[in-house]
Every structure is written in structure tokens, then in C-alpha cells.
């Protein structure tokens, strides 16, 4: 009986630790990129605000001649820096090999838009902030620009490592 309980505890604890470890691995080993945002803020059911973020790379142009994409499908988007911003250069079903000036980020098709475009979610569309601090990011003033520092690991997973307003860091992700 004790062995079984310890096995359950071990497996469940290992899973939770692995969850944290995997996220930290992405943050520590990933390539850092800065993405500008278009935030929209709903409230979370739990304590704290969560900011809903959208990026320029959230909408990707597709080639109508290529294979049709479907909602919920896993895709890989190649991005490269253009005019101090990262822009999507292509969208693929399998992880492609890209030149050294580009990186590949994994996402899921959220919606098929008109004019040969798709909306892609990369897992970096939510950020939890302390209560009542979401508005700063939700409603920046006209001369405020919110940008997000994201780490993209070699598997294409992305994680938010920091939030900036006018290039001044407001939040920084750490292990503890």
C-alpha cells in the first residue's frame, strides 16, 4: 500500500516538476526575440488579471496553391527580423530547415481567415499579471508600446520571458 501511494506521489510530483522544467528549458535555451503586441484583456476566473496578447506573426499569409490548412492543425511558422520586427516568412506542416537568420516557431491554426490568411496561436497569447495591473498592458497610452520578449527553443516551443513598455522591462520570468 505504501509503495503504491509513494509511486503515485512520485509520478504526480515528477509530472509537475517536469512541467516547470520543460518551461524553464525553453526559457533558458531558446533564442530570444522581441515581438510587438496588440493586447486585449479578459479577466481570469482565478485571482489576478490575465492579458490576452496578439502579435503581428499571429496572422500568416498562406499560398492558396499549397495544401489546405484546417482549424486546430499543428503548424510551423518561419519568422525573420524585418524593420526591427519579426515577420512570418512561411508556414509549414512539418518543421522545416531554415537559414540561420530565421527561426521556426510552433503553433496551431486558430481560424481560417479570408484573403488567404490564417490565424495561428503559439502558446504565448496569455500572460498572468498581479491583480489590477493588467490595464497598464491592456490600455497603453498612445505613445506607449508594449512588446514581449519570447524564447523559442529548438523544437519550436515559445515561452514569454519578459514584458516591456517602451523598451523598459516591466515583468521578467524566473524559475522561482
Amino acid at each position: 500500500m505504501l509503495k503504491r501511494i509513494l509511486l503515485i506521489l512520485l509520478l504526480q510530483t515528477l509530472f509537475l516538476v517536469a512541467l516547470i522544467g520543460f518551461r524553464q528549458w525553453t526559457l533558458n535555451t531558446g533564442t530570444p526575440i522581441i515581438l510587438e503586441t496588440e493586447p486585449i484583456d479578459p479577466r481570469s476566473l482565478f485571482s489576478g488579471d490575465y492579458v490576452r496578447l496578439r502579435y503581428k506573426i499571429s496572422t500568416v499569409l498562406i499560398n492558396p496553391a499549397e495544401k489546405k490548412f484546417t482549424r486546430g492543425q499543428k503548424v510551423y511558422v518561419s519568422i525573420k527580423p524585418e524593420n526591427n520586427q519579426w515577420a512570418a516568412t512561411g508556414i509549414y506542416i512539418k518543421k522545416p530547415k531554415v537559414p540561420s537568420d530565421q527561426i521556426v516557431i510552433k503553433g496551431y491554426i486558430q481560424a481560417i481567415l479570408p484573403d488567404n490568411r490564417v490565424q495561428v496561436a503559439y502558446g504565448i497569447e496569455n500572460y498572468f499579471v498581479p491583480e489590477n495591473e493588467g490595464k497598464k498592458l491592456e490600455q497603453p497610452t498612445l505613445n506607449e508600446k508594449v512588446s514581449v520578449k519570447v524564447s523559442v527553443d529548438r523544437l519550436g516551443n515559445a515561452a514569454i520571458s519578459g514584458i516591456f513598455i517602451n523598451q523598459k522591462q516591466i515583468y521578467q520570468e524566473t524559475l522561482f
Binding site: 509520478l11 509530472f15 485571482s47 482549424r71 486546430g72 504565448i124 522561482f176
Partner: protein, 448 residues
């Protein structure tokens, strides 16, 4: 609990008169009282345990509320320590009570195990929040379900099994609209949950498991109807669901001894429910008009299922061993399957939907009549109740279909109300008469 105490007191009062009348020997009086006292004491202790558990839950809720109010002030490391230590504390407390000899303490241990599993789920949720994981993906619910499944298997805990079943269903219902397709992966998890249910013979949980499957199937079918994403497959999915339900029904014939009879009965009842539900959809002419015919290229799927049904029926229908069903019944059984199979194959051909609708309605009425006969013959009230329920639903649905546009609105509601009042009285009277007659007569073969 007070009923048990009242019973003990009543027993104390009655026993001396029973001894005086010579119904029981005097030496048995004390043994009976001692045994009843033990049960009463155990139940009193159970009451204490359950109230203590409620107290623990309230205490836990208070602690959680306190931490929730100060959550943003606590450091990440402290949050992780709180989360992991609460997980360990609940499971280790569960272990302490599970190794006790008294059954009521074991029950408390089982409840604490459930608490540990709930805390595991809460931990997943809070860690995803702390480390900003994507909350739209319901993968966390799947992991929680699998965690509960593991606990149910290792500790033979039915509460965790119930949690696993419910979580698996929630996971699938959230996932299906996200992927815009039927979420077939649910069936894998459903099968995984079925294994320990059958092994541990948790019959109550079997009901929950089968209900979850019916909810999943109905949700997917209705979601297809509402979203119109793949309209050409709608009829095909209903046909397959119907035939699969019939297949399960066939497998519950007495010849197939792969599980206990009472578990088989549960499968049989739910298979009948699912069969009638899917057939009911097909009785709506408007539905058949909207979705026209199923695509030609996938008719082999329907044919394969029909052949499976006939194969199982041939293997199972051995008139020497079949009990309680007359040759007329067996003939009707085969006839219904033939008619139904033909109609489902005809889904793939562009026939007049109104004619198809009439044929489905007639088939459904025949099947309902046969289920009533089957229920009566095998002394199974569930078939009779189910048949009457669907018969009432069928009449109501046809009343709406036919008279909604033909009658003046007020007249429609007046007639509808009268139909419901008179109909429900007649149905209920007939149903009670039938079940009473069934209960008072002996079954022809009690082993069935």
C-alpha cells in the same frame, strides 16, 4: 443514521416478546443485540468521520481562500512548496487511514485519496498559471484524468475512477470544437477507463461510463448539426452509431458469457437507449431533407457494420440455448435488423426524404413494440420504461412536425396540452399495468 438507532431501540423492545412467544431462543437475544449494537456504534463512528471530513473540507476551503487572497504577494518558490506539500500531505494522510482496520476509516482514506487527486488537478492549473502556459489547450484536463485513473487502478478507489470518467468527458467536449472534428481520441481514454470498471465490477460506475459515452456521441452529432462543418457525413455517423449500438445489444445475448449477467444487462439497457436515440433522429423528415444522402464512397463502412451485426446474431442465436424469447420474437429480431440495415444502406441513395422518414417512423414503432414484448418476456422493466418514454417522445415530435404549420397557434397549444395530459395518463396506466403483470408472473426461465 437515526433510522439505525431507532431500529436498535425497537429491537431492544421487541426481543423479549419474541423470546416469550418462543420465536427465538433466549440465548440468541443477547447475541442479536450485541450485533445490532456493533452496527449502530459503527454507524455512529461513521457519522463522526463524515462530519470530520466535512470539517476538513471547510478548513481546507478556508486555507485555500486565505492563500488565494494573498496569492500575488507570495513568491513563486513558496507557491510551489505550498502546492507540492498539500499534495503529499493529502496522500500520506490517506495512507494512514487506509491502513487502519475499521472500514469507516478506510472510507475516509479513500475520500482523502480523492482529495489528493483533486489537489493534483488544482496544482496543474495553478502551475500553468504561474508559468504562463497556454490555457486554451485542455491537455491539462487529460493529464488530470489520467492521474485519477492511475490512482483508481493502484488503490482500487471508485471515487477517483468516477473523477477520471468525468474529466475525460470534459476534456473531449472542450477539445472537439477546437479541432472542428469528432474527437475520436476520447474513445481510447474511455476504453482505458472501462478496463478497471469491469475488473473491479464497479457496476454503479459502469452507468457513469456508459452515460459519458452517450453524452459524447450526442454532443458530437449535435455539434455537427449546428456547425454544419461536414453535413454529408451526418447521416453516416448516425447510421454507424445505430449499428454499433445494435452490435453491443447483440453481444449481450445470453450466449456471450464474457462478463457477469448484471453488467451485461447494464450494457444492454444503454445500447437500447443509444439505439433508440439515434433512430429517433432519423424519424425527423426535415433532418433527412437537410442532410440528403450519405456519400457513396463510404457506404462500405455501413455494410461492414451490418455484416458484423448479422455475424454476431448468427453466432449468438442458438434457439436451443436462447431463453425466454419465442420463435416469433427471434423472427421479429432478425426482421427488424434486416429492415433497419436496408434503410441505413438506402441513406447512400438519393431517395425521397419524406418516404424515408415514414419508413423510419414505422421501423421505430415496430422496435418499440418489440422492446415492450422483450421487456415483458424477460421481466426487464427497463425496456418497458424506455419504450414508453420514446413512444411518447415520438408522438410529441410528430405532433409538432405535422400540426405546427397546419393549426392556429392557440389551437395547437390547447390540443398539445390535452394530448399530453390524456396521453401521459394512458401511457402511465398501461406501463404500470404491464410492469405489475410482469412482476406477478414467474419468468419462464429464471436463469435468464
Amino acid at each position: 443514521m437515526s433510522k439505525k438507532i431507532d431500529f436498535f431501540k425497537q429491537l431492544q423492545k421487541e426481543l423479549p416478546s419474541w423470546v416469550a412467544k418462543g420465536w427465538i431462543k433466549p440465548e440468541y437475544e443477547q447475541s442479536i443485540l450485541a450485533d445490532a449494537a456493533k452496527t449502530t456504534e459503527l454507524n455512529e463512528k461513521s457519522t463522526t468521520v463524515y462530519f470530520s471530513f466535512m470539517g476538513i473540507v471547510l478548513l481546507g476551503a478556508g486555507i485555500i481562500t486565505f492563500f488565494a487572497a494573498h496569492w500575488t504577494e507570495i513568491s513563486k518558490l513558496s507557491k510551489l512548496i505550498i502546492l507540492l506539500s498539500s499534495l503529499w500531505a493529502s496522500y500520506l494522510a490517506a495512507y494512514y487511514f487506509l491502513k487502519q482496520n475499521q472500514s469507516y476509516l478506510n472510507r475516509l482514506g479513500q475520500l482523502l485519496t480523492l482529495l489528493g487527486t483533486l489537489i493534483f488537478g488544482v496544482n496543474i492549473w495553478l502551475i500553468t498559471q504561474i508559468y504562463h502556459f497556454d490555457v486554451q489547450d485542455p491537455a491539462g484536463i487529460l493529464i488530470w484524468s489520467l492521474g485519477a485513473w492511475m490512482v483508481a487502478i493502484l488503490l482500487k478507489n471508485p471515487f477517483c475512477m468516477a473523477l477520471s470518467i468525468v474529466l475525460a468527458l470534459i476534456w473531449s467536449l472542450i477539445k472537439s470544437p477546437l479541432i472542428q472534428h469528432i474527437h475520436w481520441s476520447f474513445l481510447l481514454i474511455w476504453a482505458l477507463n472501462l478496463i478497471p470498471l469491469l475488473k473491479e465490477k464497479w457496476r454503479g460506475l459502469l452507468h457513469l461510463e456508459l452515460i459519458s459515452l452517450i453524452i459524447w456521441a450526442s454532443f458530437n452529432l449535435f455539434w455537427f448539426l449546428i456547425s454544419s462543418v461536414h453535413p454529408q457525413y451526418y447521416l453516416f455517423y448516425i447510421s454507424c452509431s445505430l449499428l454499433l449500438a445494435w452490435l453491443v445489444f447483440n453481444l449481450t445475448l445470453p450466449q456471450f458469457q464474457f462478463m457477469r449477467n448484471n453488467m451485461k444487462k447494464t450494457f444492454q439497457h444503454y445500447a437500447a437507449l443509444f439505439l433508440l436515440l439515434n433512430l429517433f433522429y432519423l424519424t425527423f423528415p426535415d433532418l433527412l431533407i437537410t442532410f440528403k444522402q450519405a456519400p457513396h464512397k463510404i457506404w462500405p463502412g455501413t455494410l461492414i457494420l451490418i455484416l458484423c451485426n448479422f455475424s454476431v446474431l448468427c453466432i449468438g442465436l442458438n434457439s436451443n440455448k436462447l431463453c425466454n424469447l419465442s420463435k416469433t420474437s427471434i423472427g421479429f429480431y432478425i426482421g427488424v435488423l434486416l429492415v433497419l440495415s436496408t434503410l441505413l444502406l438506402l441513406n447512400h441513395i438519393p431517395l425521397n426524404p419524406s418516404i424515408m422518414g415514414i419508413l423510419y417512423n414505422l421501423t421505430m414503432i415496430s422496435i418499440l413494440g418489440w422492446f415492450i414484448h422483450l421487456g415483458y418476456k424477460t421481466a426487464d422493466r427497463a425496456f418497458i420504461n424506455l419504450s414508453f418514454l420514446f413512444f411518447a417522445a415520438l408522438i410529441l415530435a410528430r405532433y409538432f412536425d405535422i400540426f405546427w404549420t397546419l393549426l392556429n397557434r392557440s389551437l395547437f397549444f390547447i390540443m398539445g396540452g390535452l394530448l399530453l395530459i390524456i396521453g401521459s395518463y394512458l401511457f402511465e396506466t398501461q406501463r404500470r399495468r404491464l410492469t405489475l403483470k410482469m412482476n406477478t408472473q414467474k419468468a419462464e426461465n429464471p436463469k435468464c
